[in-house]
Every structure is written in C-alpha cells, then in structure tokens.
Symmetry: C2
C-alpha cells in the first residue's frame, strides 16, 4: 500500500526533504547541503540522499511511496522535466532533473517551480485550505508567486506564469534588476525596503537604524516604535495592497496569500495591505476574497511539492 | 440535426443577433433596438425577437439550433443565469435573464459576460485561432478584457475576473472613475486619451485639434502628422505595452490581443505596444507570445456568444 509522498525543496544552499502523509502532515523532515559547487552529479546524488535519509529516519520503505515532488527555483520545462535556467543552481541548467532523480530513486518524480509548490502547499493544508482559486505572493529577496485557478496551478504556455513581483506599479518608475521598469519587486521586496529606508535616512528622516541593516531590522524597528521604519513598512503594505487589488481585478480569486520572511512584520504589514485593498478593489472582487498571511512557513515548499506528487498520482 | 448556434450581443442601445454555423461562420445577422426604457419585459421580448428574426431570415428552423449564447455587459451570476448589475441595462438588474430567454425561445441559453464572449470569439475563429491561452484587452470608453487559460474562460470566484483595465500602472496616480487609483483605464481608454491630449494642448503643445474632439480624432490627427497627437497615441501604446507585460509575467499566455475601436490607429498604436513589451518583458514570457490586434471587429461578441453556446452543448 502506498500511503506516503516525498516532498523535496531544492535550494542553492540546502535541500530540504520530507516524508508526508496523504493528509499533508510532515511525518519526517531533514535538510542537507546542496553542494552546488561539486557539480550536477553531486547535487542529484544529494537530492536522492536527502529523500532516502528521511525515508529511513521515518522507517518508510520505498514500496509505501506514491511519488516524489521536487520543487526547484528557476525556469523549467515541466513536460520534459528539465531545468532550463536556475541562477542559484547553475550546474543544473538544462539538466533532465526529473528523470535523473526518478531513475536513481526508482519512484515517479514530479517537477514543479518552488513558488508554485509553496502555493500548492498552502492550498493543500495551509492558509488556503478549502480554496479552489488563490494567488500567493512570496516576499523575500525577490517577490515571486503562484496562481491556482479551479484547483490547478497556472503554469502558462512556457511554464513561467506567476512572476507576480514583476508587475509594474509605476510605469515610469525605477529600473528593476529584471530589466522591466517600476516592478513592485523593485520597491516592496526586502532589498527594496532597505533601499527606501536608506533613502529616507539620507533625506534626514529620524531613525534608530544606522549603517548596514536588513529588512528584518526595519520591521523590528517599526515594532519598537521607529516612526520612519513604520512609514516604510506601511508604504510597503500599501504597494502590496495595490498588486493584491490588481490580482483581484484580473483573476477574482477566493484568496490572496502573502508568504515569506517579510510577513514576520505582522499587523504592521497586513493592516496597510488590507486598507489599500479596501480603498481600491471593486465590491464584487472583494466579496468572498480573503487576504491572509501564509501558515506553513519554511515547510510550504516541501509540503506543496509532496502535494503535487500526490495529485500527479491521482490523489487530491 | 442541430447544426447552428445563435449568438446574441446585448447592448444598452442595440441587440445584435446572428445565426452561426459550427465552424464559427456568421450565416445571418441583424440588429434591433434594445428599448431599455420600455422595461425588462420589452427587452427580453426584443432579445427573443432578434434571435427569431435572424433564424427566419436565414431559413433556419428551431430544431436545427444547438443553443443560444447571450453576451451581456455587467456583473453576472453565471451559475444562476442572473444579471447582478448592468449600468447600461438597469431594468435587467437581478433579472434571471438566462431562463427568461430560454423559456421564450424553447432552446438552451448560455449566459456570458460580453468581453469574455468577445475573447472567446477571437479564440474560436479570429486573431486567437489555435491558441489555448490568451488575454484580450478591449479598448473603448473603458478598458475591459477576457482571459482564457487551457481553453477555458477564467471567470473567477464571483464571475468578475478580467477587469484588465483596473490594474494600476501608477500606484500614486490619478483617481479612476471606479474608485481605484492609477488604473490603466484612467489614462489609456478613449476618454483617458482625450483628457491627456487636452492637457497637452492646454500646456501649449502644438496641435491642429481644437475644441471638442474624440479619441478617433486624435488617432486621425496622428496619422495626418500632428506631432502632439502622435505622442499621445504613442504614450497610450506604451501604457498598454506595460499592462501587456504584466499579463505576460502573471499568466504567460500564448497571445495578447487588443480589440475595440481604438485599434483603428493601426501601427501608430501597435508599434509602441510592441516596443514597450520588447523592452520590459522576460525572454521566457516573450518566447512564443504573439501580440496582435483583434480580427472580428464588432462581430466578436456575437460570434463568441455563439461559440460559448456550442461549447456548452459539447461542441468545441
């Protein structure tokens, strides 16, 4: 009887793997270094080793595994099971990763973009449980995302849908690292927040923050009463509320979920998001659309990858 | 044998109806006044009359009709077959229009939003033929649209998806009539173009246009060499290229189609759209994504409504 799926969240630094039951509960999980510098063969071996280790630790034999879901950052060719381009895993560019891992593990492997996998995880057992359509923004160094419509991940014609951070909120604004202009990522990602905070300080706005600091420091300063930090976090929330409204008008989903390290800011971030949506969005789009923070934290990718494997195997 | 479908495009002024064959060819079409001022019963009677008239003119008996597609402007409840709110057809607000028309005509009726129907028409037999996913912008008094993914219209959780004109391109910009801020509709719709042109003239920019004029006059002036009109049309194209890029990054469709009266501007509008997309969009999103003008003109809604009826009847 197959009653377990494996989820793998492949990153440039670490590989997280987990044994997940058919209700989305992580039975066992672990993490090992990716060792990208050792080349493709080593990384593939590490992926398989991570999967085998959590199976062993959980006392689960391969014949109980329905399948393996592999979440990977970068652009993929899902039909071919190939990584086309992954900035943080250069040795895997053009690697037929799905079949390489499947052959070594002897079980079916499903490839998925990591942000899509995380969105699927939240839908399966997290903040999006019960929703049939949702849009998830992942807030970090960049702003990524995943879109689910009618219980299906939207992949697009080249498997690159969901680049939610590269929608333009200032069409004549600043150039984004991606080449586009005025992307929300340029302003509301962690580096964008830091840049705006530093500019505010340089303009003479008062703050306890000095020298080098990160987005998390801005959030903490805001929570501790730093007025300029509060304004920067609030403005970030308003920008995110603007793109949340865009998604409501374009796709009219049941839910919008925000995920990633930045949501540690809590109400300082969520309140301006909600205020902005309230101000901007059509009544009909707002009706029935919940806007929430993610619930699965760093496990979303792993759980979602497992969920994708389960779905591919004919589960839910 | 059923070998015909009826498409109806219900507007605030006229009702267009057509007999369409199973390949999407309009066999017979006609238009009668909606007579909105005469109230709900009169409009429903007119819809049925329009359908019956084209059937009679085409010599097609009801037993050859697979179904009727009814395209309606406004917010709808598709499952219930009800018009929730239609600014131009106030007497039909909350009318169970699908069943009212179906009972009188004695054939199955499918309700669809008019912009979605037009997108479906272009996909069926117009500029989008052969595409499985596309985004269509309709440029007119407002900017509307329709989204098709995996051969299905994206309706959203409340049937209000596709409000493509109300995505924000200037998050701190001007207030839009809808209540949102900096919507592309505010700037790049026909009234938006006129407003920007008048502001340019008021600033002293040279133009042959004086007094009251419409968007079509700006386009004609641009074609005739008016430099300010050219700049306004070009800027409109760049704004539309910005939101086209948004859609490519969010949904990664096979095609983006622009429709509506404004596309009469031809290359003066299409060239800056394409230039802007070239400048802004990710390579992977651009790959395989065609950006074109619509082909069906004013018949798109009627043909698309017929296509929706055919699809509902199990056709393609």
């Amino acid at each position: 009887m197959t009653d377990r799926v494996i989820g793998i969240d492949l990153g440039g630094t670490n590989i997280k793997a987990g044994v997940v039951d058919l209700e989305g509960k992580v039975v066992q999980s672990g993490s090992i270094p990716s060792e990208v510098d050792k080349g493709r063969e080593a990384v593939v071996k590490n992926i398989c080793h991570a999967a085998e280790k959590v199976m062993k630790d959980a006392g689960v034999k391969p014949d109980r595994i329905k399948g393996v879901g592999l979440g990977v950052p970068g652009t993929l060719d899902l039909e071919a099971g190939v990584i086309l381009f992954s900035p943080n895993l250069p040795c895997l560019n053009e690697a037929p990763i799905r079949d390489l891992v499947s052959e070594q593990l002897g079980v079916p492997v499903v490839l998925e973009n990591d942000a899509n996998a995380a969105a699927w995880g939240e839908k399966w057992v997290g903040a999006g449980k019960g929703a049939h359509s949702l849009v998830m923004f992942t807030l970090g160094t960049g702003i990524g995302g995943g879109i689910i419509i009618n219980d299906e991940i939207v992949h697009g014609s080249n498997d690159v849908a969901g680049e939610l951070g590269h929608q333009t909120i200032l069409w004549n604004g600043e150039k984004c690292a991606c080449g586009n202009i005025g992307c929300v990522e340029r302003y509301a990602s962690c580096p964008g927040m830091v840049r705006r905070m530093k500019a505010a300080i340089a303009r003479g706005e008062p703050s306890r923050l000095i020298g080098d600091f990160e987005a998390a420091d801005i959030t903490r300063a805001a929570q501790a009463g730093d007025e300029t930090a509060r304004r920067i976090v609030e403005e970030t929330g308003r920008m995110l509320g603007t793109v949340a409204t865009n998604m409501m008008h374009i796709l009219n989903p049941e839910m919008i979920i925000f995920a990633g390290g930045m949501i540690a800011a809590g109400g300082f971030l969520l309140t301006p998001i909600l205020d902005e949506v309230k101000k901007r969005a059509f009544e009909a789009s707002k009706k029935g659309c919940r806007i929430v923070f993610a619930e699965l934290g760093g496990d979303a990718g792993l759980i979602g990858a497992a969920g994708c494997a389960l779905k591919a195997a004919g589960g839910k």
